[in-house]
């Protein structure tokens, strides 16, 4: 079968011909579109390494069939930095040692961007840990991850207030 979908990936419009309805968004990105930034950990929704934003919401790309996404806007880790400027969440992960080996990091960062947009955790560390519990870190960099998300939340909120003023 052949199925054609249209996606906006990190702001670039793309027509994607799918020869197989079984392809997940994760495999589409990594295997067919040469975008390996999004990682595969468990492939079962259990680790969060594959987290991307679809229409601004964080989801597990390993459990999402690409064929269901016609017309969607996808944001991956490759789409966060603006030229040479890191996204505030990326910068905060670097500053607070939010990783060791780095394998879970793209998923952690995309999940944090999604969580901050949801706005339910604020800068409360307990709420951040709960909100980030879908992202496992085999290196257990959780302390730095929580601090990074807290710091990025504060900075992004301050920047939003400045923009509004």
């Amino acid at each position: 079968m052949s199925l054609s979908i249209h996606l906006s990936i990190n702001g670039t419009e793309r027509d994607v011909a799918l020869d197989d309805p079984r392809v997940t968004l994760l495999d589409l990105l990594r295997e067919r579109l040469a975008m390996p930034g999004t990682k595969k950990g468990c492939d079962r929704g259990q680790c969060g390494a594959c987290t991307v934003l679809v229409d601004g919401r964080r989801i597990n790309s390993c459990l999402t069939l690409a064929a269901t996404l016609d017309g969607a806007q996808v944001t991956t880790i490759e789409g966060l930095a603006q030229g040479g400027d890191l996204h505030p969440v990326q910068a905060a992960f670097v500053e607070h040692d939010g990783f060791q080996c780095g394998y879970c990091t793209p998923g952690q960062i995309m999940s944090a961007v999604g969580l901050i947009a949801e706005g339910s955790a604020g800068d409360d560390p307990e709420r951040i840990r709960e909100g980030m519990s879908g992202n496992l870190c085999r290196c257990a960099a959780y302390h730095g991850i929580t601090q990074a998300v807290q710091d990025a939340t504060r900075r992004m909120n301050a920047a939003a207030r400045e923009d509004a003023a």
């Binding site: 079968m1 199925l3 197989d20 309805p21 079984r22 997940t24 492939d43 079962r44 929704g45 969060g48 987290t51 919401r57 964080r58 989801i59 597990n60 459990l63 999402t64 069939l65 064929a67 269901t68 999940s111 999604g114 969580l115 949801e118 339910s120 409360d124 307990e126 709420r127 840990r129 709960e130 909100g131 980030m132 519990s133 879908g134 992202n135």
Partner: protein, 335 residues
């Protein structure tokens, strides 16, 4: 994953028409795609209903009931201020399930219809004895039957939720409690039928001041329940005018306990009363595969959930929803 035909109907009628034996509805896919990867489920055809129009509303009806479209995402329902204000225990249960990413994708109907966890065991013959913690201690007659895994369904069954269904022969509705049955198939949905909505009656909102969901897991977050309880009380001055109690992760379906509810009615809340109600809830329990600890865990979870409900629903959602641990925002009386 086995190959399948893929259909994307544009309307509800087209979806019903697209069904054929061996087909499966695809909601958020967080349960179905997972099981298709292991080969545990092998639909010949997937009918993608995730974008069907008209099934994503949360509406208050004229009679005070709330109607929730089948495609409302779990996160959106929990985060809807009007819904969470009327049914805080349901929002708390939703937020204690899975992860932020999964709740963003999972649909209301998919959550009700999710396969139990024994479907995950590898091999053609599932071996439920592989994990006694997920075996039923109630409602299975001592046989090794996996528990129903959903958190969401536990408060729903206590609040008399109704499931709206559409099939080739038209619409019908049933109590959520009657959606589940022992053995195969595990639900009373007739093949080709689709869940279109979930309804909570007006009376369900009368428990909002005193209702809690409590979930005990083997880690603080992002784990299925080992035992859970949804407790709600409608107070009349110092007395309990009406109580609702249901348990999760103990039976093949969300387990409502009428005996405990009858025992609580008309009484003044207190530790003794709650202990007796919890005893009554677990009276017929039978251990399977060495999981006798689950009976005691469920008993204590039920008693504690009742005490938490009596202390009052917190003003804000706790930082760790449904958890016995961590900082609690709002009312600290039950900690």
């Amino acid at each position: 994953m086995k190959m399948f035909d893929f259909a994307q109907p544009a309307t509800l009628d087209e979806a019903i028409g697209a069904w054929e034996p061996g087909a499966a509805w695809l909601g958020g896919g967080t349960n179905l795609v997972d099981l298709m990867k292991t080969g545990a489920v092998q639909p010949a055809k997937l009918i993608d209903i995730s974008r069907l129009p008209g099934l994503a509303g949360i509406d208050e009806l004229d009679d005070g009931a709330t109607r929730i479209g089948a495609l409302v995402r779990n996160a959106d329902l929990a985060g809807d201020p009007a819904f969470a204000g009327r049914y805080p225990m349901v929002a708390e249960a939703l937020l204690s399930g899975a992860s932020g990413q999964l709740r963003n994708a999972a649909t209301v109907a998919g959550n009700l219809m999710q396969y139990p966890r024994d479907a995950y065991f590898p091999g053609p013959e599932p071996d439920p004895m592989a994990d006694a913690s997920s075996l039923s201690v109630l409602g299975a007659g001592g046989e090794p039957v996996t528990v129903h895994p959903s958190d969401f369904c536990v408060p729903l069954v206590a609040l008399d939720a109704v499931v709206e269904i559409l099939g080739p022969d038209g619409p019908r509705e049933i109590a959520l409690a009657d959606l589940y049955q022992p053995g195969e198939p595990r639900t009373t949905l007739i093949p080709g039928e689709l869940v279109t909505a979930l309804r909570l009656p007006a009376a369900a909102a009368e428990f909002r001041a005193n209702c809690r969901y409590l979930k005990v897991r083997d880690r603080t977050s992002f784990a299925f329940a080992m035992a859970s309880a949804a407790a709600s009380l409608r107070m009349d001055g110092p007395h309990i005018a009406e109580a609702r109690l249901s348990l999760g992760a103990v039976a093949p379906k969300p387990w409502r306990v009428a005996e405990a509810e009858a025992l609580l009615k008309g009484q003044a809340p207190g530790a003794d009363l709650f202990a007796r109600a919890a005893d009554a809830a677990m009276a017929g329990a039978q251990p399977v595969g060495g999981n006798g600890w689950k009976i005691e865990l469920a008993r204590r979870t039920a008693a504690r959930a009742l005490a938490m409900a009596a202390a009052g629903t917190p003003a804000d959602m706790p930082a760790l929803p449904a958890s016995p641990f961590g900082n609690q925002t709002g009312d600290l009386a039950h900690v």
